[in-house]
């Protein structure tokens, strides 16, 4: 696209600038729409699992429910508690929302379709997701209220704990793929097992790591069974207790954008991203073009993982806080460390010619 604008007479730098802005909008706006639809889908999933109907009044089959909720929230008054720290109180939801959006810059949607094809893509995602915790901490502190503050403390400890094991899981993937670039990681999974199955997840050495990653990604996005940050029975609504109207909505949008991102990461890092699960040529381009087929496969996988997230939320009871910490530090951390050693040892023997090399 940069070339097109350049061709129209803009200088190269400004055409790059314009093309990037358009690229950002092309990702961010459908993402917001996706969040609205996915909240509806999730409520339907929970309803089905609880033998209820779920939203079915606004629009056909209740499809417009999220937009109605959005409109309601948008029209309400933003209430700022008198003793809150005003500036920080308003910045916190913005931070959550922004961080949830910037991560998408490096996600490869289809072959060659990525906004920023940087070679530290995975580190960028780690960095951006570690920023996410500030939204919660700052919200909790600036509200100047007890429950949000407890929630902030829980959020900080939980995020830092699970980021450790996520880091080690990512290291095993990076070791196998030999790159931090997400597009390269996807391409490395082509015919990974027996030259037939696309995806590191089919590899018996990496499958346990996917399980760890999947559970950690729930903890990282504060989803049930790890939603102690906003446990209703203990903390009202956690860090969102004092928030109203759009500032509340921004938390929700950011949270769900993060959930979708984690689904995308599960697909990209372990299940072949935009590639079909089986390495068979017609599957790569049966849907008009290879790009659209790639999008189809990625979205199919993301939807599946999102269904799993909803499934877990509907069925698994909440962890207690000490159990959460135990799982993170005493089980996931040693397990992922062990697998880093196993994977690097295996690669040392098979790929780099033994320990002597």
């Amino acid at each position: 696209m940069t070339e097109t604008f350049h061709h129209w007479g803009l200088t190269y730098e400004w055409s790059w600038f314009l093309a990037t802005i358009i690229g950002i909008l092309v990702i961010a706006l459908p993402l917001m729409l996706a969040v609205a639809m996915i909240i509806y889908a999730e409520r339907k999933i929970w309803a089905a699992m609880a033998l209820r109907r779920g939203p079915n009044v606004v629009g056909p089959w209740g499809l417009l429910q999220s937009f109605a909720d959005g409109l309601k929230v948008f029209l309400k008054e933003t209430i700022i508690p008198t003793s809150a720290n005003k500036g920080l109180f308003l910045i916190a939801p913005i931070v959550t929302f922004t961080v949830a959006l910037i991560v998408w810059a490096v996600v490869p949607f289809a072959p060659g379709v990525v906004l920023a094809n940087v070679n530290v893509g995975l580190l960028y995602i780690l960095a951006a997701s570690s920023l996410g915790v500030y939204g919660v901490i700052v919200a909790g502190w600036a509200s100047n209220s007890k429950y949000p503050f407890f929630s902030a403390l829980r959020a900080a400890a939980q995020m830092v704990s699970y980021e450790v094991s996520i880091g080690f899981v990512l290291i095993t993937v990076v070791l196998w793929a030999g790159s931090f670039n997400l597009s390269a990681i996807v391409l490395q999974q082509k015919g990974h097992v027996l030259g037939l199955l696309n995806g590191f997840g089919f590899n018996p050495l990496l499958f346990p790591m996917w399980v760890v990653f999947f559970i950690s990604s729930m903890a990282e996005t504060f989803r049930t069974p790890f939603d102690l940050v906003e446990a209703e029975s203990e903390l009202v609504a956690g860090h969102q207790t004092e928030y109203s109207s759009m500032s509340f909505a921004l938390f929700w949008l950011g949270e769900y954008a993060n959930v979708i991102l984690m689904c995308a990461l599960n697909a990209i890092l372990f299940w072949g991203g935009w590639m079909p699960p089986i390495d068979w040529a017609p599957l790569y381009s049966f849907f008009f073009t290879p790009e659209l087929t790639g999008l189809f496969w990625l979205f199919a996988k993301m939807t599946f993982f999102f269904f799993c997230f909803g499934w877990v939320k509907a069925t698994v009871p909440r962890y207690r806080y000490d159990q959460l910490m135990r799982l993170g530090w005493k089980i996931f951390l040693p397990l992922s460390l062990l697998f880093v050693i196993l994977v690097s040892g295996w690669l040392m023997f098979t790929r780099y010619g033994g320990a002597g090399a």
Partner: protein, 201 residues
């Protein structure tokens, strides 16, 4: 041009928050300004082409170290009056430290062209990604210092745990393995007491 705009943006946003760290009255605000400064210094690294270092700054400093700072500072009950009371008493010592730091900065800035490694020129861009280049150096030429640094950090971690760990005897923590290993026949006892005899537990 965009590169220079970005440079001045990041530079301003590093220095101004760094000043705000010192001048902010609220310690939590100070930590948050520090985070802003860290984040923008990562941006400067990025402009220099050191993308790996930039990401590490964000992951390590912003994502872990500053979270812990914030964690501690938020929970401290700081009494500002007692903090300020020592101001005049410690002023001479503070001025000395400030002068030493100033001298260091002046020496460092005036010698920025001195070293053999940089000599004022930009490092030539290579086709190698940062991480590959760093890894090759760390695991060949600097292998020994690298391993020693790792060992020292491990010792520090173990030391911190040993120093702060205390075994409490008045708690009854959950033993998950015990719960998992429990079987119905050892947990439930079926009794049939006669009338008027009651239960013996």
């Amino acid at each position: 041009m965009i590169a220079s705009i970005a440079f001045y943006l990041f530079a301003t946003l590093t220095i101004a928050p760094a000043l705000a760290v010192i001048f902010a009255r609220n310690p939590v605000h100070s930590v948050l300004w520090l985070i802003v400064a860290f984040f923008n210094s990562a941006g400067l690294m990025l402009l220099l082409g050191a993308e790996f270092i930039a990401m590490l700054v964000v992951i390590v400093y912003v994502g872990a170290v500053a979270v812990l700072f914030l964690f501690v500072v938020m929970m401290l009950d700081i009494d500002f009056a007692s903090l300020r009371s020592g101001f005049t008493r410690n002023l001479p010592f503070g001025i000395i430290i400030a002068l030493v730091l100033l001298a260091e900065i002046i020496i460092a800035v005036s010698a920025w062209q001195a070293g053999p490694a940089l000599s004022g020129h930009n490092v030539a861009a290579t086709t190698q990604p940062n991480i590959v280049a760093l890894g090759q150096l760390l695991y060949s030429r600097y292998l020994f210092p690298f391993e020693i640094a790792g060992l020292i950090l491990l010792v520090a971690m173990v030391g911190a745990i040993v120093l702060t760990h205390r075994r409490r005897h008045d708690t009854r923590p959950q033993k998950v393995w015990k719960q998992v290993a429990r079987r119905p026949d050892e947990a439930v006892k079926v009794l049939d007491p006669g009338v008027g005899e009651g239960m013996k537990l």
